[in-house]
Amino acid sequence: MTIEAGATKVIDGVTLRRDPARESCFQVVDTDAQMQDWPGMSGEARREKLHRHMNNETGALEIAAKALADFPDAPWDLRMQLARQASDESRHALVLYRRLREIGGRKGEFPVANYEWGVTDMLDNLPGRLAVQNRTFEAGLIDLLGAMRNTWRAAGDAATADLLDGILADEITHVRFANRWIRRLTEEDPRILLKVALAVRFLARANAQLGPKPGMTNAAGTVITEERTAPPAVNVEDRLAAEFTEAEVLEVLNQAGFRSILPTPLKAARA
């Protein structure tokens, strides 16, 4: 697979895939700092969170669909999983859009960024895309949703909390199939490990270059603090359900400073 000329954009020295198609009502930006992100759960903050999430789910749909189109020779059972994922992400985008409208929001109300697409679609191999999109971005979403459903519930919005919990259940299955397939494919051909490692390294470089930095001010005028750039608490139980190994979960816990929602067995192991 080759990336055709004109299909990329360069942001702060990092080459990313050019954005997928968006309606003209959307203002598409390139970095997190250009996004609007308010602290707390004001009406505006709630709408922006749903709007951002809706676009991220749309991006996840686009990544799964593009993988189906780009890798016709992938094992059929893996393609079935990608097809299912495309359908799941479509539903997620639609329920978030529905909820956004219910609380008074609208499409295009806030800027959107397509960072996950920009990184993932630069990779010319399916194991690399699974490692970056499913095993990293979506696994991160498992952590984020684990925390966010509690935040929404605590803010008195049980409907959104339940919606996020439903999405979380689906995301676990997307991470799990990627974990299974990466294991299987690398067992069959150990050279695939190198592709996975290169993909993860590309992601790390992009994150380091383009990720929000403490001291920056975003488009909503919010100063980005150390706390806001810290990874969310690790959703240990759901990561284990997604078939990360305990060693992998402990590694993520270490990166997150051991902030977690721990299930009993791991709590005992740590004690």
């Binding site: 593009k66 189109a69 097809a83 495309a86 359908s87 479509s90």
Partner: protein, 183 residues
């Protein structure tokens, strides 16, 4: 006329090829279609077409062909399929998929059901019956989107040969004309 085992496998393999092709078409359209409602319509239906292909591919194995045996359709049908899936605009994509390709495919499934022995070929009939039962939902999903985005309905198009695919009688090539393809 009784269909031979080879006829059945070839026909189901051709249906599978078309299902995979349409799944890939929708997948290709998703990132390049701007409208959220349409993007997600295509995204949801990718899974339907994948399931159709999967069920057909499992049945071909029972008909002494390969698991997930796929067979390229007759040349004229294949050309028309390529032409209709190459369109760039959203309204044209919706029209071509939901007003032309899927109804045509549904008609070809119905033809198979009429020709098949419902007892001897009951497993294929069941598979195709379940597939055909999905088509009204696909159409109603499309209608719901057009209900929200009326500007995406494309009432025109009488001059670009839309619908020509329905005139093509030959769906699958003659038995010896195509070698079995990998899934």
């Amino acid at each position: 006329m009784t269909l031979t085992i080879r006829d059945k496998a070839d026909t189901l393999g051709t249906f599978r090829f078309v299902s995979v092709h349409l799944m890939e078409t929708l997948a290709r359209w998703v990132p390049t279609t701007p409208e959220l409602e349409v993007k997600t319509l295509f995204g949801r239906h990718i899974w339907d077409l994948a399931q159709h292909a999967d069920a057909l591919g499992k049945r071909t194995f029972e008909l002494r062909a390969a698991l997930h045996y796929s067979r390229r359709p007759a040349a004229a049908y294949g050309r028309e399929l390529e032409r209709l899936t190459a369109v760039p605009g959203t309204a044209d994509r919706i029209t071509n998929m939901y007003d032309v390709l899927l109804p045509d495919l549904a008609g070809r499934y119905d033809t198979y059901l009429k020709e098949a022995d419902p007892l001897l070929d009951e497993p294929s009939v069941r598979v195709i019956g379940r597939i055909v039962a999905d088509f009204p939902r696909l159409a109603s999903d499309r209608a719901a989107v057009i209900g929200e985005r009326a500007e995406l309905a494309a009432p025109r198009r009488s001059t670009n040969g839309l619908g020509a695919i329905a005139q093509i009688v030959e769906f699958r090539p003659a038995a010896d004309a195509a070698a079995p393809e990998a899934p």
